[in-house]
């Protein structure tokens, strides 16, 4: 058995419709696709790749809820118990007064939390070396990467599957950790 750690096959396509149908074709032939890189978003690509919807909205909701709780707890404790103050002749805990700050903290935590989570789950932290299989995917080519270490089929078999699905060229790339 050849050593396939960090070894990728990179299929290059030159048409969005071809790569879209190729994904289904390649997956039906039992190949696990690592990722597809395109210069622009292609409608329906996520579905054919079998990606589930991201859980990011739920993360945002709970970050937002944390912001709401934090803001209300902070203001009720400060204004009501720690250092009660009469402002504008209102009650110590004047709920309507707290809404703007509550809103702001909710939005702040939801957005910062969402951005942070997104960067972490997408491995996009600062200083991270980008994984670029073929720089032409930022211009006019569509790249399908297949991780050989995660596939049972041989490199030759996968190459012919990619070629048959419409790839104009298939290259091999070793990714260094």
């Amino acid at each position: 058995m050849e050593h396939n750690e960090n070894k990728f096959l990179v299929g290059v396509y030159d048409d969005e419709d071809v790569v879209l149908s190729a994904v289904t074709n390649v997956r039906n032939n039992g190949v696990r696709i690592y990722e597809v890189y395109t210069p622009f978003p292609i409608h329906g690509l996520d579905e054919v790749l079998g990606y589930k919807r991201s859980g990011l909205p739920r993360v945002a909701f709970f970050f937002g809820l944390t912001g709401t709780t934090l803001a209300l707890t902070m203001m009720i404790w400060m204004m009501g118990y720690d250092w009660p103050m009469i402002v504008g002749g209102k009650d110590f805990v004047a709920f309507p007064d707290f809404i703007p700050v509550t809103f702001e903290l909710t939005v702040l935590l939801a957005s910062l939390g969402m951005v942070g989570t997104f960067l972490i789950i997408s491995s996009l932290w600062p200083g991270k070396k980008p994984l670029l299989f073929d720089s032409r995917c930022t211009d006019d080519k569509f790249i399908m990467a297949v991780d050989l270490g995660k596939n049972k089929l041989s490199a030759d078999e996968i190459t012919s599957i990619l070629k048959n699905s419409g790839a104009v060229e298939v290259n091999t790339k070793i990714v260094e950790e």
């Binding site: 419709d17 879209l20 149908s21 054919v48 504008g88 002749g89 309507p96 703007p100």
Partner: protein
Amino acid sequence: MAGHHHTPVVSLDEQYVFQPKTRSRALLTIGIGLLLLIIGCFMLRSGGGNEHHGAEHATQAAGGAQHGTGHAAQNTEGAHQGAAENTVQPIAEGGHEFHWYTRLYANIWLNNIFFTGIAIIGVFFVAVQYASQAGWSAGFLRVPMAFGYFLPVTGVIMLIMFFVAKHDLFHWTHEGLFDPKSKEYDEIIAGKKGFLNTPFFVIRMVIYFAVWFWLFLVLRKRSLQEDLEGGVKFFDRNMFTSAYFLIFFAVTSVLAAWDWVMSIDTHWFSTMFGWYMFASWWVTGLAVITLTIVNLKEAGYLPHVNSNHLHDLGKFMFAFSIFWTYVWFAQFVLIYYANIPEETVYFLARLEGYGGIYRPVFFLNIFINFVFPFLALMTRDSKRHMVFLKVIAIGIIVGHWFDFYQMIMPGTVGAHGGFGLVEFGTVAIYAGAFALVLGTFLAKAPLVARNHPMLEESLHHNI
């Protein structure tokens, strides 16, 4: 297109048929409404006719819908209650003896404004789509485009109602207020005479309705002409007309809010009010558009309108429920915080005045128009399912009816308000009439604007 893209099923000649069964259901709704209204009026007359003085008695006579809510005000601090009684005095005192039919007039006025809003928002929605060159909505634009036909109905009723009921609904229509020699003279209201006088008010009302309806007819006529001739000529012209309509509507929607609703509480004013009422109209209109489309789909029409389009309509309702809340709160919190008597009188009347009968509606308003749509429409799935959208749209429509209820009722019927047969009957009549007009005019043109230049984009809408 690629293999996985299904060719959308679209029948360009699809025509809505207003089935006799649907029509009779609309007529039946009107009939039941009329019956309830008549019974309600007799009950009001026999109950309320003898009592002109005690709010207690009149409240009981008004259908008993608010039993027990009077306790709310009694539990608050004495000082507060005193303030509430003092501040609501001018409204009650400045008027006249209460007649049972004031409540009937107030209800007609309320529903007339509410349904005018739904009708004009149909036109507004179409204009926004044209002006922004939106493609996604092209496949169902004929649905809101039929709403505008209700404008003449509400316009005529509003004009007649103003002359019938102006002294009962609008305090500023009393001549004595403007006469320095009169006992009734009110310096503040006299200062508003340049704007709040009957001739100018009527002229404004006629202009709003005439221009709204005229521009609506222009947009619709061009769209129908486009069906026959094709090309982008009609789209381009509609785009310009829509832009002019939007400018005109931006001003007149605010003026209409001042005229028809804010001037009821004549002394009080709020610079947020125009936007607040527009926001209420807009989100109600979006909910009615969504509800109509879902109903049409359930009846087998509009097969090309799929969950992607529904998703966007759901986003619209979600976003503008929040927008309404934002405007409502912006108005409320500044008045609450500044605590200036001539401003707080408005919210005191709704929270503590008249034995607190409007307090439940005040809080219901925030719950059903903010908390409910905010939580229910938050997930993606809820915006893509017809049953969810239907329930939420109905909730928003009912909720904003109560929003208008609490804008109009305290200033007109005050302590004699309630929710009974009169309220329910009037809503039923208007809802039935709206369905009748909508169905009739929806059936008069194909459901799909076949030559709309953006139709293809709408058919492939994917989010």
